[in-house]
């Protein structure tokens, strides 16, 4: 991802990968990628690695939260309700 077409910034490529661009901007990036297959292949590969990482960490994200961590929040909740704050 070392070169960008006029009007296509590194930031736009980042945002494209993150799915944060509107349709018009996505279209411009896609046109750029069509003209730059090396960059397109790299982006595709990057997306593949990131997808595998999301799958790898998914079980950790769905682990039950330990009570001792929830207790930290509960202690403040009860303190707030005792003090009459909303």
């Amino acid at each position: 991802m070392s070169e960008q077409a006029p009007g296509i910034s590194r930031q736009q490529l980042d945002d494209y990968v993150r799915g944060k661009l509107d349709a018009a901007s996505s279209g411009r990036v896609e046109a750029y990628l069509a003209d730059n297959p090396d960059v397109a292949v790299q982006i595709q590969q990057d997306c593949r690695v990131q997808k595998r990482l999301r799958e790898m960490f998914a079980p950790v994200l769905s682990d039950p939260i330990p009570e001792r961590l929830l207790d930290i929040l509960r202690s403040v909740r009860s303190r707030v309700s005792r003090s009459g704050k909303p």
Partner: protein, 163 residues
Amino acid sequence: MTPISRLEKMIPNLRCYSRALTGNWDLADELVAECLRIAMENLDVIPHDVMRVWLFTRLHDLIAHMAPGGQQRRKTSALARGPPSDTHVADSREPGLQLAFHALTFAQKAVLFLVAIEEFSVQEVAIITRLTVRNVRQSLREALDQLSALPLGFLALKEGGSG
């Protein structure tokens, strides 16, 4: 949603980040607990729209300071590099990817996780990790290149449904 509810909703993500960087479940949860205590003490002053960035920044600092010698030695510390001390830090069906991830430097792991799992922008990652945007991009590129270089088209095979 109250600030405390929002905080509670973020605990799994904070735990996952902490585990990814420390490779140790107990230590990871201790650091998350400390991060939550700090957050609770500052709940009134954390702007709601940047709570995620604020939390990850505090947690990142806590993890980074666990490395002997602090920031200067992060890259070579046992915490920053090497295999996890717990074998089941993430999905055990991905041993190759897991080992490759843990072989990355501290900065590479942090940046890659924050971009790939949390979908932060490079600007947000720069704030959280206290790196420059340029260094964030560089660490991300290096990390992605290393994981893409897994032997025998590991990722492509996985994509094809062999694993």
